[in-house]
């Protein structure tokens, strides 16, 4: 009688709760950059939301950090297949930032210092699903991880969580951002493995 054993190689990947298909766990925080790391002095930092009609609402660093902030713990999933579970952040919810912004736009383009962009549907930024974070693991967010502030939208692949964020443009039509224009998926759901166009 043949006995097939998996041996003692540890738990299968898919048995780890919270780990999407095709991902592996890491305890590091890998740094992925598509260009030089911008160093933004806080007195020159500004975050602007521009609506589809051209109305702008913006905050400087002092105004931004005076807004009600939340401490939150989320799992993050990079399209290059690492996942990090239980990461802790402090930031301002997009619900708070959008509170006094009048818009009927369904799509957004997130913009960063250095020119990076990524598109995220409006509904994926609201209802407690996204934050502009300025602390990670209790410390000020380091420049290599997107400091002074980055978007964190953890239910999508982490390229959507733009580092060095400086604004969100609200749009009536969806448009590709930096990686999406180069072949990555327009939406990027890690649970559906939406890595590349056509996935």
């Amino acid at each position: 009688m043949a006995i097939i054993s998996r041996g003692f190689g540890g738990r299968r990947r898919e048995s780890v709760p919270g780990l999407p298909p095709g991902q592996y766990l890491t305890h590091d925080f890998p740094v992925l950059s598509a260009g030089p790391t911008p160093r933004i002095p806080l007195d020159r930092w500004r975050f602007t939301i521009q609506t589809e009609t051209g109305e702008s609402t913006s905050w400087n660093w002092d105004e931004f950090t005076a807004l009600p902030a939340e401490d939150y713990t989320v799992d993050i999933h990079c399209v290059t297949k690492w996942s990090k579970l239980g990461t802790t952040w402090r930031g301002v919810s997009l619900d708070t930032l959008m509170e006094n912004v009048e818009s009927a736009a369904d799509y957004t383009m997130v913009h960063s210092f250095g020119g990076y962009t990524t598109n995220v549907p409006m509904e994926d930024l609201l209802d407690g699903k996204a934050w502009i974070a300025y602390k990670f693991d209790g410390e000020d967010l380091a420049p290599e991880h997107g400091g002074p502030a980055r978007l964190v939208v953890p239910h999508l692949y982490f390229w959507k969580s733009a580092k060095w964020v400086n604004g969100i443009q609200l749009m009536n039509e969806d448009e590709p951002g930096f990686w999406e224009a180069a072949g990555y998926h327009m939406y990027g759901d890690p649970w559906l493995e939406q890595r590349y166009q056509g996935d």
């Binding site: 950059s33 260009g35 290059t80 020119g115 930096f178 990686w179 590349y196």
Partner: protein, 98 residues
């Protein structure tokens, strides 16, 4: 001023991408790093080999050394390669036998 109706019949241009096979094979069978790019951002022109390369695991990003704008990007999926030339106005490829 020419009348749009004077243009050649549409049939003369209804070729698909297969008709470019010879041209593209000639372009991409060569070492493209020897080709000269022209940056869409600042107009700087030099050999592709001189671009500043950022090798993020998500994809290769080649930036103009003059203005740091992105000139070309290569994304490798398991079954496909995407080449994005948004930031490149022109590629000038030297021919081997000229």
């Amino acid at each position: 001023m020419s009348d749009p109706d004077d243009r050649a019949p549409v049939e003369a241009t209804t070729l698909d991408g297969n008709a470019m096979a010879g041209d593209l094979r000639e372009l991409f069978a060569v070492d493209v790093t020897a080709a000269r790019y022209k940056c869409a951002g600042c107009g700087h022109a030099d050999a592709v080999a001189t671009l500043m390369l950022w090798g993020a695991p998500t994809g290769r990003v080649a930036r103009c050394p003059h203005c740091s704008d992105v000139v070309l990007r290569v994304v490798r999926a398991p079954d496909r390669v995407f080449l994005d030339l948004h930031g490149c106005v022109r590629l000038e490829v030297p021919l081997a036998d000229s």
